[in-house]
């Protein structure tokens, strides 16, 4: 009995921590949606692009770890700059579905560029954090929890707190919130829309880089990251598109539910149900609470 309970705890905690990885991807999504009401479908591609660039800098040019990270972050700022200038600004007055489709195109461009520049083979990314159970926890609590999972959880927590403080207490955050509320009114009182957009896209790029490092250390830096990042979409639906805590809670729910289902129900169906379980869960949420747990109620004007 105790062992079963321990096993369940292990599955649950593992799922929750793995869920923070989805949260990290979803976070970039929320940042952009909050500031510009744009569904950035290319967030997954940004994850892939940034971490492949990071690996490329480190492995092809032998640039040290920290410098490579900074370079990759700068590259994401450049991507944000180009996106703002060449995609978002011309589509300022387009409908949200049009912008969404343009970001699908942007995702394709980023994936293609990354592969053209750094090749298609799977790269190993070593962060110096092993993906194996932490001995101390295994000995004392009898739970096998990977060090990488714990790191991902910590990194996610730090980023959330940082972003929360940024949004709540700084002038930039105030500007961001103003733009999110009403872009037209915000620009009429002198908030530079261009800079805000650039800032948000760069921040989303850096978040993508961090998420990519976590994913890359676990599964290798490869194209499949884009598909994994798609799972951020059900996370967003559960948490709400415009809520940072929502992204976290949504990620935790998805991570926990898919692991528990996979371990306890999966074997009856030949496994691999975690491929679709998050999406079906998202459908149930859509039917009962379309705005997500923390989202604002969707009001459409006729």
């Amino acid at each position: 009995m105790v062992e079963e309970l321990l096993f369940f705890m292990e599955v649950l905690v593992g799922g929750l921590l793995a869920g923070t990885m989805y949260s990290l991807v979803a976070l970039g999504f929320v940042l952009i949606f909050k500031a510009s009401a744009t569904f950035n479908f290319s967030q997954g591609a940004m994850v892939f692009f940034s971490v492949l660039a990071f690996c490329g800098f480190m492995q092809d040019f032998n640039i040290p770890f920290v410098l490579a990270f900074i370079l990759a972050a700068l590259l994401m700022v450049v991507v944000g700059l180009c996106t703002e200038r060449f995609v978002l600004r011309p589509l300022m007055n387009a409908s949200e579905d049009t912008v969404l489709m343009a970001t699908i195109g942007l995702g394709y461009v980023l994936e293609g560029l990354a592969q053209a520049a750094w090749g298609v083979e799977v790269r190993r990314l070593d962060l110096g954090i092993g993906d194996f159970p932490v001995p101390w926890i295994a000995d004392n609590l009898k739970l096998f929890i990977s060090a990488l999972d714990i790191t991902a959880g910590l990194v996610a927590a730090i980023m959330i707190i940082g972003l929360f403080l940024l949004f709540k207490y700084t002038k930039i955050g105030l500007g961001l919130r103003a733009v999110a509320d009403d872009a037209g009114a915000a620009s009429s009182i002198g908030i530079p829309l261009k800079h805000i957009m650039l800032l948000v896209w760069s921040a989303a790029g850096v978040v993508a880089l961090v998420a990519g490092c976590m994913w890359g250390a676990r599964a290798g830096v490869q194209f499949a990251l884009v598909d994994l990042a798609l799972k951020a979409l059900p996370v967003l639906i559960i948490g709400g598109f415009s809520s940072i805590p929502g992204a976290i809670i949504g990620g935790l729910i998805i991570g926990a539910v898919e692991k528990v289902l996979e371990v306890y129900i999966g074997p009856f169906f030949g496994g691999a149900i975690e491929g679709w379980a998050p999406y079906v869960l998202a459908i149930f949420f859509l039917l009962y609470r379309p705005e997500g747990l923390f989202g604002e109620k969707i009001i459409r004007r006729v």
Partner: protein
């Protein structure tokens, strides 16, 4: 309940149809003799164009952002395999129709969330269908007739006792199915069915207040769309791939069909054909350039990456400058041509009911 209205064809339509038929039935088989063109370009073009029409119906005409065309194609393809295997009396055409209907049932099931949500929310809901259908086929051996290798060879096409196994014969099978379904789609799009779809697309609340049933219209659009995708998937597997494996119908194919639909032109039937042709032929062209101009100096993976960049770039450019895609571009060119040279036929038809 309104009775569906069918439109009569105008003279222009009949001329267009005649030209297309002459081109596809007489000109192409006489002038194209290499098998490569049939097996690698014409057959997949027709199949994917058919699937793109399905995507058009739900996305272009009804305005519902769906991203699961490949899932329905897989449902159609595997339904076809099982029908031919287990119900041989049905024949090829019968199996094709029934497999389309099975795909349509999935379409109804996964289209139901569209009643509640729209935009990216719906996209996520339709992604569920994509992943779920592929997983189901993959995990339940019955669908694959307990074949352990994972790749099943498709049965030969036999219609009325005659085998259709040469590339040319398969081309004609695809052509016949595509022609019938395209005409049907055009008619639906122009008739009351399509009017309802477009009313829902343009403003669902206004449409509802005018007596268009949202439930009926949306579910109908999803069902018909999935039917088209299912038939297309069956043809795709039996005439083009000649094998069945769930991996062939992954999310990448769904994205490809989405691109065909958007680049070709949302809300147009001919856009489906233009878009499918473009997405299929462009990589062929790029590879030809890579091989002939640079003599293979550029790696094939780089070429495919460049192709991806160009598709994505085009998507952005079209969204900015011409959200209605290549079909609209073509329309604009025709319009310019007409205003430059005002022909007498143009003046005569002025004021006439068309």
């Amino acid at each position: 309940m309104m009775k569906p209205v069918f439109m009569t064809y105008t003279k222009k339509d009949l001329i267009n149809l005649a030209v297309c038929m002459v081109l596809s039935v007489l000109v192409i088989p006489t002038f194209i003799t290499t098998e490569y063109w049939y097996t690698s370009i014409l057959i997949p073009w027709l199949c994917l164009a058919l699937a793109t029409i399905g995507q058009q119906i739900v996305m272009g005409y009804t305005g519902q952002l769906a991203l699961g065309a490949a899932g329905f194609m897989a449902a159609g393809a595997f339904a076809m395999f099982n029908l031919i295997l287990r119900v041989p009396d049905l024949g090829f055409v019968g199996s094709l129709i029934v497999s389309g209907l099975i795909a349509a049932a999935f379409g109804i099931l996964f289209g139901l969330p569209s009643l509640k949500v729209r935009g990216i929310y719906l996209m996520v809901a339709t992604l569920a269908s994509q992943f779920f259908i592929i997983w189901m086929i993959d995990k339940f051996g019955w669908f694959k007739n307990y074949d352990s290798s994972g790749i099943i060879t498709a049965q030969d096409i036999v219609i009325l006792g005659k085998p259709f196994t040469t590339p040319l014969a398969m081309y004609f099978v695809c052509l016949a199915v595509t022609t019938v379904l395209t005409l049907l789609a055009m008619n639906m799009a122009r008739g009351s069915t399509g009017r309802n779809w477009m009313a829902v697309r343009d403003m669902d609340i206004a449409a509802e207040s005018m007596g268009v049933s949202l439930l009926r219209t949306k579910v109908q659009a999803f069902a018909i769309s999935a039917f088209y995708c299912g038939v297309a998937g069956a043809l795709f597997a039996f005439c083009y791939l000649k094998s069945l494996e769930p991996v062939a119908f992954d999310i990448k194919l769904s994205f490809k069909i989405l691109f065909m639909c958007i680049l070709g032109g949302l809300g147009t039937i001919n856009g489906a054909f233009i878009g499918a042709a473009f997405i299929l032929l462009f990589p062929v062209l790029l590879n030809a350039i890579g091989n002939n101009v640079f003599h293979g100096a550029i790696d094939a993976t780089i070429i495919s990456s460049i192709e991806q960049v160009i598709f994505g770039g085009l998507m952005i450019i079209f969204m900015i400058y011409e959200p209605l895609g290549m079909a609209k571009l073509w329309e604009n060119i025709k319009q310019k041509w007409k205003t430059k040279i005002p022909s007498s036929t143009n003046l005569k038809s002025f004021g006439k009911k068309t």
